[in-house]
Symmetry: C2
Subunit: 322 residues, 2 copies
């Protein structure tokens, strides 16, 4: 995936070039730390690709690309507080390394810096960029709230779950791409199609994440396989299992959720999921969204060659072994 | 102050008209709650006055006025978490009434809504509005960080303290006014002067707050008189006292800070401050900034009649009994 690497290196260098003020140290040190923790930089790459697909350049779309990456990192810093997550990308989270107040405030200022970058784009596209970015940012907050609500909610439907992942993670991929398209002056219908492409890829990717959490090769997976099962997290797998289970199997599933021996818990869940064919059913849903994404891309009124990087990126995102 | 009341009623009605989505309830109920807790609505009034002073209208500047009020409330919700404040405007704070995660997230989304309002202003002034608003928002975060740093910092100079209050509270008043001026198409030099007017009023007002905390009439003051002394808060009074004290008085002051009987502590501090003439010295500093504000206002190239509401507002803000 040479072309993706090229984008990734470009973005990484630009992020390294970003200078935050030296003081107040407790506000800006966390940003310097967190912004260079790495990550796939998928969102800014999407903005650059979106811009190039419609004839603009990486350089022209760079501020918006960085804005979307800063926004993503702001949301991670705050989500990590809410989830009490000690580790992110193998390193301490901001609220663990510093403290919670510092994590709240440095997250806040990072969000403002995202807007400051966005404001560097030329004035004629600024209203459209802002409207899209604001709508998306609101949706991401809504998605995070639904995700938190699901922790205590008695019954979550699959529709509600897909809507939650759409809001929490997928709309930002659509937004990243459409911002590139806006900067390049794409038509409204093409903008909506590339947004849809990103959004559907996002949903498919998130479902893949749910599947991988239980079925990944432990030697290749960066974290504990079965972590979602251990913590009784609402995932598509679990919701599908409940949907497909007969009353006896439902009872069994509820018992598994209470199991305190984690290895046993994972083994029992896996066995029941196999009986119910959950993995394949979820893969089908994932593929459905992947196909929806490709259909949207096909409809865009640009030569196939200009869509190629986007198709490659989608394939790269979806190629993880499940 | 009839004219200020008119503005205030106008803003209050517009805030009441703002509709947030019904769901997710845990995201938007806190906003509905917090945005109608009241407050002086000083910042949006400044934006409206700034716009009118240069020939624009309340209606034209309304989105920006609301944006600045939303931003202010976002910062209060997050500050209240950081300060562990249980009460704001006589009511429970968001993190107390709901919980901390909800307070973080509803604060975040409120900030985004502020930008959404700002984006409603006409495209030709949007880049200037955004740049000012972003710079100010960053400074407010920096001010809050300095304020938190001061809690554990061994020695804070008066210059550092004034800079902290300038960032944390005063720049937003300048920004509110200048946004109105930008919307009305004021010249760059008039924009800078009206910003300076707001900023200096802000500093004077904050110093007045410090003085009132100890010297207010308890029957008129909404909270515990001497609260800053009880909690050993860094204030201009305390910093001035240390600056003016001789070595013996410094020792005495340090002893007072350790006093566990709060009534005694306040009485002892007040006595020592009287000996050192701290109250009057601080009033002089306050008046210096008030004068600076009025000087900036005088230089603005508009008829005196158009400055009148601003002068009245400044007098109203500074008239509290100290």
């Amino acid at each position: 995936m040479q072309s993706i690497e090229k984008y990734s290196v470009f973005i990484e260098e630009e992020i390294k070039k970003t200078h935050y003020p030296l003081t107040p140290k407790n506000l800006y040190d966390p940003l310097r730390y967190f912004m260079t923790l790495g990550g796939k930089r998928m969102r800014p790459i999407l903005t650059l690709m979106g811009a190039e697909a419609f004839g603009s350049s990486k350089k022209e779309a760079l501020p918006a690309a960085l804005a979307v990456e800063l926004f993503h990192n702001f949301s991670l810093i705050h989500d990590d507080i809410m989830d009490e997550a000690p580790i992110r990308r193998g390193k301490e989270t901001v609220h663990t390394k510093w403290n919670q107040n510092i994590a709240i405030l440095s997250g806040d200022v990072l969000l403002v810096y995202a807007y400051q970058l966005l404001a560097q784009q030329k004035a004629e596209v600024l209203p459209d960029l802002l409207n899209l970015f604001n709508t998306t940012a609101i949706e991401v907050c809504e998605g995070q709230q639904y995700d938190m609500d699901f922790e205590t909610k008695k019954s979550v439907s699959i529709t509600e779950y897909i809507e939650m992942i759409r809001l929490k993670t997928s709309v930002l991929l659509g937004c990243a791409l459409e911002m590139g398209a806006i900067i390049a002056g794409a038509s409204l219908s093409d903008r909506k199609l590339i947004y849809e492409f990103g959004q559907q890829i996002g949903i498919a990717f998130q479902i893949q994440d749910d599947i991988l959490d239980l079925y990944a090769d432990p030697s290749k997976f960066g974290k504990q396989v079965g972590g979602d099962i251990i913590s009784n997290k609402t995932t598509l797998l679990l919701l599908k299992a409940f949907e497909l289970a007969d009353p006896y199997q439902k009872e069994k599933l509820n018992a598994i959720l209470q199991e305190s021996d984690f290895d046993q818990k994972i083994a029992l869940a896996k066995h029941l999921f196999d009986v119910l064919n959950v993995r394949n059913v979820c893969k089908e849903i994932m593929n459905y969204h992947y196909e929806q994404a490709k259909t949207a891309l096909e409809k865009i009124q640009i030569p196939a060659s200009q869509k190629e990087p986007l198709l490659q990126l989608a394939a790269y995102l979806m190629e993880r072994e499940i």
